[in-house]
């Protein structure tokens, strides 16, 4: 019993830290609230989709930015999409970098774009790790017979 409570507390703390540190925003709460009995793995599913999609986009971006003639339109389109999906799951920091990224893109600033790409990759990896940790904690809570506390 104690172990479960402790795990739950840990989960809550960890979740709160993600918000405090700006990795996640309110939109992630929305996501959690969308999860219900009819769709018990909703958050995990959505976030996995986000991971897949983001990785694809980041790879594409890296490819485009390596080329001699950079198709800024494409860059912009990809970044735009990344911005859309990251904002939809509440990955706030990724979203913010995307905004800067788009600005560089608009200026056709190659160097700026490359920097932004590194930056966004970094943020993406961070939030991915954080979210994976979060999900693991949740699994542990569930495995120990507890319920996921609502925020």
């Amino acid at each position: 019993m104690d172990a479960v409570t402790q795990l739950q507390r840990q989960l809550v703390d960890y979740t709160n830290s993600l918000f405090h540190e700006g990795f996640l925003d309110e939109q992630f709460n929305q996501l959690q609230q969308l999860q219900d009995e009819s769709n018990p793995d909703f958050v995990v599913e959505v976030v996995s989709l986000f991971f897949q999609d983001s990785e694809r986009l980041l790879n594409e971006l890296a490819k485009i930015l390596e080329q001699q003639n950079i198709d800024f339109k494409k860059v912009d389109a990809h970044v735009h999409q990344l911005k859309g999906s990251s904002s939809s799951i509440g990955a706030q920091r990724v979203q913010r970098v995307c905004i800067a990224f788009r600005n560089s893109c608009e200026e056709k600033n190659i160097e700026g774009c490359q920097k932004c790409l590194q930056h966004v990759k970094h943020e993406y990896t961070l939030v991915k790790n954080k979210l994976e940790t979060l999900f693991k904690l949740e699994q542990q809570v569930l495995a120990s017979g507890g319920t996921i506390p609502m925020y």
């Binding site: 939109q27 929305q30 996501l31 609230q33 969308l34 219900d36 009819s38 769709n39 909703f42 599913e45 959505v46 989709l49 986000f50 897949q52 999609d53 389109a77 735009h80 999409q81 911005k83 859309g84 999906s85 904002s87 939809s88 799951i89 509440g90």
Partner: protein, 637 residues
């Protein structure tokens, strides 16, 4: 035992409730209403798609998701009537969301809500312009989706209104529509003015209603005669021949000599016609008020306002007939749109009207059908000055091709465009033209122009000298393409101007308002918006112009749309036409739609179309340009 008792109770309560079933049933439907709303969500971003799906499910909507625009479009086509509303992302690789939006607007009458992480004003504006009923910025929250059913209801309501509208006299609905539209207007830059106008409009409409009802209460039940543009022209020329005071249904009927038409038909149409004239004259007397009046209210209102102006001009110049004609076209034909159009014999119009029950599109279609041809040729050909301008303008035309017009050569681009429209319209117009030709002094420079000339009565009526100068300057500043057009437009004015100096002065005070009105009339817009910046003097000219412009505008758009369609254009003219007509109605249309609603927005929108990025920044100037463009088009043509 307990269980049995409970059973008994429950059955009791059931039966009890069934007593109320009638009302309860209705209520139940209402209670559940948004539940089950059939929503199609299109987004290439699977993450978003999944979230949206879940959110929409939470709202108890019936959700269909789709990650490709093309697939969505197919789905919509094959399962017509299976969706109530479409939610679409803007940026999609296989098909731009705007394209989808436009396509949906053309092919089906469905509210489309755009979504994007792009919150820039120009992006939202583009959505509106293409006919989005809403634009949600990502990330989208559940609360925003809870409300989307309102778009479905609104759309349905409008449809119903339109139906009523068509079933009875158009006048009844004016004020209703006007009030609805005011929302739009006010949201833009309008505010108080809009309300004022609406109120004014309302009282006006009420009077009209009373009159109509007293005179002919049973009208709505009689078999309806479709007053096609052609028929209406016959009517108008008969009235003109007799003189409006002496025109009685019987005589008109004789003059028209149309089999199947009854005296009653003519009588009721005459009634509307008279009301229309009355309104026009009323406006003329209240010069100062005009601006308040004209503004944003309804399409109809705007039309009438234009008509009024024309009348003024006519009165001043002494030539009423042609303008009256034009005004009437706009007013009488324009409004009933849905019905009239459908009934019309002309294929082009038909197609345009077929799109749907919506009045607005239809109106546009109708209005533009004839006018387009008419106006353009007249202006350019008749006036030497205009020609000069044209030369200047020609470089500008170059810009057009980029828009999709490609094929068309500079000077002759417009003409080229016209042909497409003209062809379609030509047949229809021919007759009219012949009738009208008396008014015009045809100068045949181009073959195309010939057809158009006949209709052009309007140009001659309006004259505003002073204005042209204003336009020129304004035109120069902002938009290149437009600019060239402007010049030509200007020219038109000057040519026309000689007649209506007086009127122009009056207008002057009102100009802001008037112009706006004009814009609306033109429907297509731009013209109205222009006014603010334009000098007051020009106003009257504008009005006249505006009507012409309407036509021209239509053409213009059609041409414009072509770009997208271009590949096919050549072969398809016929079919294309339909599309262009439709497009006009809805897509850019949105402009039209707005126009119909009486909002000034249209002009803005229109402007946007031409000048991609500038959108809102230079409203004043842009407007001018825009309208001028139209004018220019006319001139060129």
């Amino acid at each position: 035992m307990a269980a049995l008792q409970r059973l008994g109770q429950s059955s009791l309560s059931t039966s009890a409730s069934s007593y109320v079933s009638c009302k309860a049933g209705e209520m139940a439907v209402l209670d559940q209403f948004p539940a089950g709303l059939r929503v199609l969500v299109v987004d290439d971003d699977l993450t978003c798609l999944k979230i949206l799906e879940q959110m929409l499910r939470r709202c108890l909507y019936n959700v269909t998701t789709c990650s490709q625009a093309a697939v969505a479009l197919n789905l919509l086509r094959t399962k017509k009537g299976c969706f109530d509303v479409v939610l679409s992302d803007v940026h999609m690789p296989d098909m731009d969301g705007y394209k989808l939006l436009e396509q949906v607007g053309l092919e089906m009458d469905l509210p489309v809500i755009m979504m994007s992480a792009d919150a820039r004003v120009c992006a939202v504006m583009k959505g509106i312009r293409h006919g989005a009923c809403d634009y949600l910025i990502k990330p989208i929250r559940e609360e925003e989706l809870k409300n989307i059913w309102q778009h479905v209801v609104r759309r349905k309501r409008n449809e119903i209104k339109e139906l009523e509208h068509s079933g009875s006299l158009e006048d009844n609905d004016r004020h209703k529509r006007g009030s609805d539209d005011v929302e739009y207007a006010s949201s833009v830059n309008e505010g108080t003015e809009g309300t004022l106008k609406t109120q004014r409009k309302r009282s006006n409409a009420k009077e009209d209603d009373v009159d109509l009802e007293n005179d002919d209460p049973s009208m709505a039940k009689k078999p309806r005669v479709v007053w096609s543009v052609e028929l209406h022209q016959q009517f108008v020329s008969a009235v003109n021949q007799l003189g409006i005071d002496k025109a009685i249904p019987k005589r008109i009927l004789e003059l028209m000599n149309v089999p199947g038409l009854t005296r009653e038909n003519v009588a009721s149409h005459l009634q509307k016609f008279r009301l229309y004239l009355k309104r026009l004259s009323g406006v003329a007397q209240q010069g100062g008020i005009v601006s308040a009046f004209c503004g944003p209210v309804d399409t109809n209102v705007k039309l009438s306002s234009i008509g009024r102006f024309d009348i003024q001009a006519l009165a001043a110049s002494g030539q009423i007939a042609p303008e009256t004609l034009a005004a009437l076209h706009a007013e009488l034909l324009g409004r009933p749109t849905g019905n009239l159009v459908t009934a019309m014999e002309e294929p082009a119009l038909l197609q345009a009207s077929l799109q749907g029950p919506k009045c607005i599109p239809a109106e546009h279609g109708v209005a533009f059908g004839q006018p387009v041809v008419k106006c353009q040729p007249n202006i350019s050909k008749h006036f030497p000055q205009s020609i000069m301008f044209v030369d200047d303008a020609s470089p500008m035309f170059g810009a057009w091709p980029s828009n999709g017009l490609g094929t068309v050569a500079p000077g002759s681009n417009l003409v080229g465009l016209n042909p497409q429209n003209n062809n379609m319209l030509t047949d229809i117009l021919h007759q009219q033209q012949q009738r009208q030709q008396q008014h015009q002094k045809p100068q045949q420079q181009s073959a195309l122009s010939e057809s158009s000339r006949s209709i052009n009565v309007q140009p001659s009526c309006l004259v505003v000298p002073s204005r042209s100068s204003a336009n020129f300057q304004a035109g120069n500043s902002p938009v290149d393409q437009n600019y060239s057009y402007n010049r030509s437009a200007v020219i038109d004015y000057s040519l026309l101007s000689s007649q209506s100096n007086n009127s122009s002065l009056n207008v002057g005070q009102i100009s802001g308002g008037d112009l706006k009105t004009t814009g609306v009339l033109s429907g297509y817009s731009g013209p109205g918006s222009i006014s603010p910046s334009a000098s007051s003097c020009s106003v009257s000219a504008e009005h006249n112009t505006s009507q012409q412009v309407q036509n021209s505008t239509l053409t213009f758009r059609a041409a414009r749309q072509v770009p997208g369609l271009v590949p096919n254009v050549a072969d398809i003219q016929g079919s294309y036409r339909a599309k262009s007509g439709e497009v006009l109605d809805q897509g850019p249309l949105r402009n039209l739609g707005f126009v119909g609603k009486g909002t000034r927005i249209p002009s803005q929108l229109a402007v946007d179309e031409y000048e991609l990025p500038m959108n809102n920044l230079n409203h004043g100037k842009i407007y001018l340009t825009f309208s001028q463009n139209r004018l220019a088009l006319l001139g060129e043509l």
